[in-house]
Symmetry: C2
Subunit: 437 residues, 2 copies
Amino acid sequence: MSISGVTRTGTEDPVVRVALLGCGTVGSQVIRLLREHGDDWAARSGARLDLVGVAVRDTSVPRDPWVPPELLTTDASALIDRADIVVELIGGIEPARGLVLQALRGGRTVVTGNKALLAAHGPELHAAVEAGDADLYYEAAVAGAIPVVYGLRESLAGDNIVTVAGIVNGTTNYILDEMATRGLSFEQALQQAQALGYAEADPTADVDGHDAAAKAAILASLAFHTRVSVDDVPVAGIRGISAEEVSAAAGAGQVVKLLAVARRTTGGVSVRVHPALLPDTHPLAAVRGAFNAVVVEAESAGRLMFYGQGAGGTPTASAVLSDVVAAAGHAIRGGHAPRESAYTQLPLLGPEETPARTQVQLRLVDRPGSLAAVAGVYGEEGVSIESVHQQRSDDGSARVVITSHIATEASLARTVERLVTESRVQEVISVTHVEGE
Amino acid sequence: MSISGVTRTGTEDPVVRVALLGCGTVGSQVIRLLREHGDDWAARSGARLDLVGVAVRDTSVPRDPWVPPELLTTDASALIDRADIVVELIGGIEPARGLVLQALRGGRTVVTGNKALLAAHGPELHAAVEAGDADLYYEAAVAGAIPVVYGLRESLAGDNIVTVAGIVNGTTNYILDEMATRGLSFEQALQQAQALGYAEADPTADVDGHDAAAKAAILASLAFHTRVSVDDVPVAGIRGISAEEVSAAAGAGQVVKLLAVARRTTGGVSVRVHPALLPDTHPLAAVRGAFNAVVVEAESAGRLMFYGQGAGGTPTASAVLSDVVAAAGHAIRGGHAPRESAYTQLPLLGPEETPARTQVQLRLVDRPGSLAAVAGVYGEEGVSIESVHQQRSDDGSARVVITSHIATEASLARTVERLVTESRVQEVISVTHVEGE
């Protein structure tokens, strides 16, 4: 933001004009916090934050009592032209994309929580930042109040990150936690999450992993100084997870979590979202309910974890306000948001190069040689086996749990394809990734 | 740092001159990382980082092989005058203080990991920053690689922090962890920590809590936008913790941790360092060995936790390098370290106003009325009791554990003073703070 855009009124603090696009749960909390703590923001940034308008689709919808009706407008584009800082909380691609591009190209500062937009159109947004000599902040786009965007974008600039693994979707973590602690089925836990407002009426974006994939793309781009789009991220959600699988994991000292995992290897970067088994001693295993956490492994720093509330109106508004205060401070005292850092241009690894481990549960014909046949399939696909646990079932079949060493996604997939057609395999009950030491 | 201080050489990246003061464990790692990953730092900051000298006390001491002997000098003051960024890793007050003040007053950027200097002379350093229009970064001063200084100084600027509670000394956490998990006495665990290099030959600064107190002062200053000196922080260390106390805690579902705790109340700020009992479900209870973690409770964000390695050459060097890369980026692209934010000028609470809870273990004369007498002391001092657990001992006395509700430090101290002289109390075995829900 150009300091020339700042209005100075006599001996008072200079004024920075803030426009809000969208007035849902988060936007309403941003308005409340702007109004309740104005003196704090002024003392910290050197500027008085003046909310000049709130763009909404329908001005007649009932709002929280602190939302000033006279500031509501349906003309977002005209509002942008009256602002120094544009806070975009509309979500989704359009009209958010067009409005954010307008603001950036016009040299304005944009603060957004829009993970879908960033993960699908990041390069276009960063090009608009350059074109407009503008600034783009997006702490609220990943993991709500947890300052992990700041962490990766700024405070770990002097280290080389090896892995980022996170629980970045509270809805799915709540569902998996309820399944683990109360023995619910996926459907039961989902209904409960919907009743409590943790899950949307259409839960697709959460339970199928698309929300986590967008965040994974953003985290990987920041961590590895490269470009990762949400389209580059293979996704598996949690619909297929059964109560039995969760309870078997608990019996084996493990938990099932939906993880966003990004790794840097010598060959490039792999970014994926999938349910995974973690040992219950892993720091992410203790992340309960709707909380989020991100574990970063860096060459010098070793393991770091950032933990907190990943969603909700007030926590997400905290991240938005922090970006707004930082932006206002930069406007007054000089400085900018970091520009896109994508200098490594690392290749994205395909399944033949992506390292992975799985745990496969099978039901085998209980005859001599069945296990040898299965082990033979693993061997022929070049997958080493770490452990095999076999139990006799009531129906005379044998239930076998096979955990692999690290192999590639492709060889593990081929192994499962062959197991499905192997005559001594009655059923492939589940295939789950394994993460953590 | 003024951009005019940057040397531009033709079409190459501009050069930022870095001087290192001190070449111990951390300093040596900083040199290694500067040399091994120069291209990364240049790509991220826009500047080539040129190490122009390393000030040491004695140039003849053997060094790691990557330390260039030709860069060693004993004239730190002259070296400073040749640098844009001065990295101070001498530690302690003098000569570090004089050299840092020289650099700041000369308009140079200082990156320091010197918690003792910051906690004792913060206002003087910040005044020198203003006088020289300089920049001061100190991520490495608190909790090593964990970006909690960044978190409090920048990424939570849009929230109001209520509590900061942290395990910020790895030595004492290692000792307490060994006492808890292996039943060692304090002396045994300390000797082991010394043998492994986790504790110094003179362990005073760690085990008596002074290192943690300096960090507590820095964290509280940042969290509450006020000034807190290490002299304002009451300290109790871990020398008095017995193996019995640690094992009794474990039996009650608790752990003993040395905590730095800073709280904002309506009346002001309290900052303290003391051993405390935490329920084993508290996120800090799971912090093992020499790891550090800081829990921040903020009005909007709720509970956040930052976790990682709090000490060691390489993790601390990660924090130093990140500050250096950020500072170089600011030199090239504009921007500054945040200036001191001390606008709240909150009063520091004395013991009569500081909220606290304790757990007291007593041995009582096993006669009717003993417990009533003890409870009477609590009542007369205005301290409510949350729970009482009584056990008969083999020697005919009764062992009683009394946990209070929240009272004040002063009333809890008066209660203990009176218990010591109460005729039915044979012994006050231990008095420990209680933190967490």
